[in-house]
């Protein structure tokens, strides 16, 4: 475990160094992302200016939801950047590189890239939280915890979706839709959805665990919410690891797509 952490630290260090090689692009992408998130939030400000609340959900809640979602999205991009193109890596046979090295494959793959704009999202997450008016030191602690758990759910979900590439041979389409769905649903008030839809948002496309539930936890500590988030994170993570390794067996049998004799 300790070895892996040391390895991860070295990997992240080299990632960041690589991203920082193009300082201007790095900065502009990060700032651009902050502004981007801000604009989407502006739309909500306009909406809540006209309509005071949506079944009890108010602008403050949106600050928190945006905070956790953007933060989780950003953290995933910074530390596990290959989450977004795992499907491509599988299809193009680029797993070979990671397989020939003595470190856990999934971890190695995911952590081998940094998405520069991820810093923007991550920072925006904190900005949004501070702007929510809900700030307190206890709250900050809950925010960080919620963010970590949300990141685990998000990354795991994407790994699950893209592991299908081992069998289907294509990834891009589904990945794009999956990310879009996750973000969209996460950023809309959970109170909008009826029970059937809620079931989907908790169990299948776990957007609830990226937005509403963590936001609720930041508002106020609750064992119930904490339990939910922890259970969700570890369940999705377990499924992701399992599915990936199942797919890896298939990859090693050579039946997955590219055949280079």
């Amino acid at each position: 475990m300790v070895r892996e952490l040391k390895f991860l630290a070295a990997l992240w260090k080299i990632n960041i160094a690589s991203a920082m090689e193009y300082r201007i692009a790095f900065l502009s992408q990060s700032i651009g992302m902050i502004l981007n998130d801000g604009v989407y939030f502006l739309v909500w400000i306009i909406f809540f200016d006209r309509f005071n609340n949506i079944r009890g959900w108010q602008l403050t809640d949106m600050f928190l939801v945006f905070g956790v979602s953007a933060g989780a999205f950003g953290l995933a991009g910074m530390l596990f950047g290959n989450t977004f193109n795992l499907g491509d890596i599988i299809i193009n046979g680029r797993l070979d590189y990671y397989l020939s090295l003595p470190r856990p494959t999934l971890l190695h793959v995911l952590a081998s890239r940094t998405v520069p704009s991820g810093f923007g999202d991550f920072l925006y997450g904190f900005i949004s939280y501070f702007a929510s008016g809900q700030f307190s030191f206890g709250g900050l602690g809950r925010f960080v915890l919620a963010l970590l758990l949300a990141t685990i759910v998000f990354v795991s979900f994407l790994v699950i979706i893209q592991s299908l590439a081992f069998w289907l041979g294509t990834g891009g389409t589904l990945t794009g839709i999956a990310i879009n769905a996750m973000i969209t649903f996460a950023l809309y008030p959970i109170t909008l959805f009826n029970n059937a839809a809620k079931l989907i948002l908790f169990l299948i496309i776990p957007a609830a665990f990226m937005g509403a539930v963590p936001a609720g936890f930041v508002r106020g500590f609750s064992w119930y919410l904490l339990g939910q988030m922890t259970l969700a994170s570890f369940s999705f993570l377990a499924l992701a690891v399992f599915l990936f390794h199942l797919g890896l067996r298939r990859y090693e049998s050579g039946s997955a797509i590219q055949v280079e004799v």
Partner: protein, 329 residues
Amino acid sequence: MPAILVSNLSKTFRTKHKAAGLGASLHSLISPQYSNVEAVRGLTFEMESGELLGFIGPNGAGKSTTIKILTGILFPNDGEVHVLGYIPWKQRRQLAYHIGTVFGQRPQLWYHLPAIDTFILFGKIYELDDRAVKQRISYLSEAFEIVDLLETPVRKLSLGQRMRCEVAASLLHKPKLLLLDEPSIGLDVVAKQHIRDAIREMALRENVGVLLTSHDAGDLEALCKRVIVINHGQIVYQDKVSVLKRSFLNSKLVEVRYAQPISPNFHVAGTETLKVSKDLYAIKLRFDPLQTPVENVMAHLSAAGTLLDITVSDPPLEEVIAKIYETTI
């Protein structure tokens, strides 16, 4: 104890057929069509530790598949494989600590950063002690003459320089076996020479076994003592390089230059005239020394005029190997 033991290795790929277009995609979903590709069939060979072994074969011969199985990335349908005492696909991670790989087509170095950053990362990947890594890096960079290149971003290096860094990186953890897949591809003649020398040096110094696959017969000639020729997934020939050249092709090439022009129909009995130069001063011919004694040919040639220059050589290894591809299976 041999470094590599392969016995009756077989690997068949089952691939789905799919034509382009929406209709074909749907059809393939409902009733998929498969075809079997036998990449490797009953392959058997051994490699001693510290040996320099070459693997040559045309595209689709099964080289890449064999290498992948040896590194544990692929598992076979049949046969036994032991690499450094490990079963590759079952003990891939343990094996990984003791082998190094260089794939000409797949770089390991981080593109935007100096090579040294990748070296340090590799140190962490292989769990090497920090100080030992530093010493190892300076040792390897001297050997591969990349000391001045270490701090330059890899994207700014020439291909030859990059390959030297790649090979150095693969030796960082003192592997017992080095697997090189097309290491000289795309390099110019000087760069090729450079890297071949460096690899050979290191291999001998550290007693690292080198398994090299290549299209380039020059790689084999320079680096390998023994060569395995593989085609259609099977071994068609394996022996020492020197033996290969000597026994397989029974011909000698002779190039002569005279002081006076010779007749355009110049011919020596028992030989095949390959080329007569336009100015009629030089001629190139080929003959089988087992059929036509060398002595006779030489005598004939010197009698034909005043010899200014003469070269007698073996056919290039390429020709030998091409011949091998043709004559078997």
